[in-house]
Amino acid sequence: MRVRRAAVELLAPAALVVATGVLGAFVSQANEIYFVQSLIYVSTVVALYVFVGNSGVLSVPEQEKPATMPYLFDFLSSTTVGNVPSLLIAAAVGGVFAFLVGLPLMRLSGLAAGIATFAVLGITNNLLRYYEKIGPGLNTFSSVPETTDLLQATAGAVIVIAVAFAYQRSRLGRQLRATREDPAAARAVGVSIYRQRLAAFALSGFLAGFAGGLYIHFIPINVDAVYLDLTFITLAMLVIGGATSLWGAVVGALFVSGLDSVLAEMEDGMTLLGRTVDLPSGSRIVVVSALMALVLLLRPSGLTGGREFSLPRVPARRLRAAEAK
């Protein structure tokens, strides 16, 4: 029974992602990019969830890790390593960077931790932007090969989900969740809050680096593309889905990016049920942010309520009634 429930908790988000990928294969070439983008968002949000969801610490920017990616990729594309190695290198850099940042910062908690990670994001962006010895300046990375397609984005998202699932069921993940529920009690039974948070932060950075790698192999971007907007939108996706569950992270990412894609199409004029919907350009963000606020007002703990997916159980009463017949 426990095994079956665990399998459902892993398979439901994975199946949703695969279904999105399969659906994406049937739409036109022009619409396919929306699906790829959504799937990359899934990877990013799940990476963020590994730390934020399990620890309960609102670390504003996990995106600092992808922010270190662009320069690296410029370098990599010139030395032409293969696609998979370059994604792995991206993940490794993300993990190492997060570990080094986490070494001092994971001693903090609450708002101080959020602001401190935010400050790291600010510094990373500032340096990569202006200090051209290590960073790319304001150029885009057009030399990076565009290799992320629907298949890779889907596979990537499934891998990230599987890793996140394995972590949260592991001894380490459970210890971290214990510190989230009651820090004092967790310490009393010998859990080191600092070590657990650091481990999750590094793993989260590793996955975020991987997601950043997928992203930069998808479209040419510059440093500012992985700054404030991406940070806020991914954080919002996580909270809207339900920050304390993997299912919530996946649902939130797909819901918000799906909505965003539909509205983007509507801005270009879209035929819906025989009628042409044509929104003025720029209205998309208005609608998305208004809906974001609305979802939070109606369902403050997220669309999934922060719970993992579970099959509806048949109430005992109804079972008995069925037997009586």
Binding site: L111, A116, V286, L296
Partner: protein, 311 residues
């Protein structure tokens, strides 16, 4: 090499203690302190980090630009600015903050992100990415000579205005019954309610006072940066939020001092860094923020609490 560093350092120190730089830095610190009060007051009463505070200032700045474009007198512009910001604050409190009051800090923060996005994108639709220009008060940018240094009028005006606003706020908090209610709510919201403090009234007043301060800040900032874009005051809000946390978010005085300090540090560094390095100003500031947070995680101006935070 070391001689070069030493001469660079002396240059830096000489510029840093320069009177003109100091007055400008204090002026900037004063504006940031007002923003810190606006953020800290709402946080104190509702435990809500209002990220959309910068967009209130942005809305006020657009109101000023709107008035300036039509050549309305300055006082009409300022009145319009206050009306817009106060109306927006009240709407925000009623529609978003109040229903979410019992939710976790993360949910409230994300909700204010959403509001902030919403207001920014509305401004983008309405006024375009290039924004408008608010020119009616630009004359305050001119310098006056005091002794042998030239000081911009706005720095003096900002310092005086901030002093007056803070004095009024202290009177409100310490001499009126609504002020007493607000202080009680900030200490312990539940107990305060049990003792008859009206929760909705208190939070509405806190948000209104914060809104009035946002309008004041909008007037001050448009003098220094007359070009009003949808991202107006966004960078400042992020810095002030960092400053407030550095100072100590849970108490108003430390929060205000933190806001002042980051504005002051920003002013001194901006004035004293060689121009080749001034683009790294955010890195220096954020670096300072991290350093202080690591040394004093509960805030620079607060007493230390117990080992485990129980919230």
């Amino acid at each position: 090499m070391s001689a070069l560093v030493a001469s660079g350092l002396t240059d830096f120190l000489r510029d840093a203690v320069d009177l003109q730089v100091q007055v400008d830095a204090i002026g900037l610190g004063a504006v940031y302190a007002l923003m810190a009060v606006g953020i800290g007051l709402v946080f104190g009463v509702m435990r809500l980090v209002n990220f959309a505070y910068g967009q209130l200032i942005m809305a006020g700045a657009f109101a000023l630009a709107f008035a300036a474009e039509r050549d309305w007198p300055v006082w009409v512009g300022i009145l319009l600015c206050f009306a817009v910001v106060l109306a927006l604050s009240l709407a925000m409190e009623r529609v978003v903050f109040r229903p979410l009051r019992t939710q976790s800090a993360a949910v409230m923060l994300i909700a204010t992100f959403a509001v902030s996005f919403l207001l920014q994108s509305i401004a983008l639709l309405w006024f375009g990415p290039l924004g408008k220009t608010a020119t009616s008060l630009v004359e305050l940018n001119r310098p006056v000579s005091v002794g042998d240094v030239e000081i911009r009028k706005i720095s003096i005006v900002a310092i005086l205005t901030a002093a007056v606003c803070l004095a009024l706020l202290v009177l409100l908090l310490n001499r009126t019954s609504i002020g007493l209610h607000m202080r009680a709510a900030a200490l312990d919201f539940t107990t305060a309610r049990l003792l008859g403090v009206r929760a909705n009234l208190v939070s509405a007043v806190a948000v209104l006072v914060a809104g009035a301060l946002a309008a004041v800040v909008a007037v001050m900032l448009t003098v220094q940066f007359p070009t009003v874009t949808p991202t107006f005051a966004l960078q400042e809000t992020i810095l002030v939020l960092a400053g407030v946390v550095v100072g100590g978010m849970t108490r108003l005085v430390p929060a205000t001092l933190g806001g002042f300090l980051i504005g002051y540090a920003s002013g001194v560094l901006g004035g004293a860094l060689p121009s080749a390095q001034s683009q790294y100003l955010p890195s220096f500031l954020f670096g300072l923020v991290i350093l202080v947070l690591l040394l004093r995680p509960d805030g620079l101006f607060t007493r230390r609490r117990g080992l485990v935070e129980r919230v």
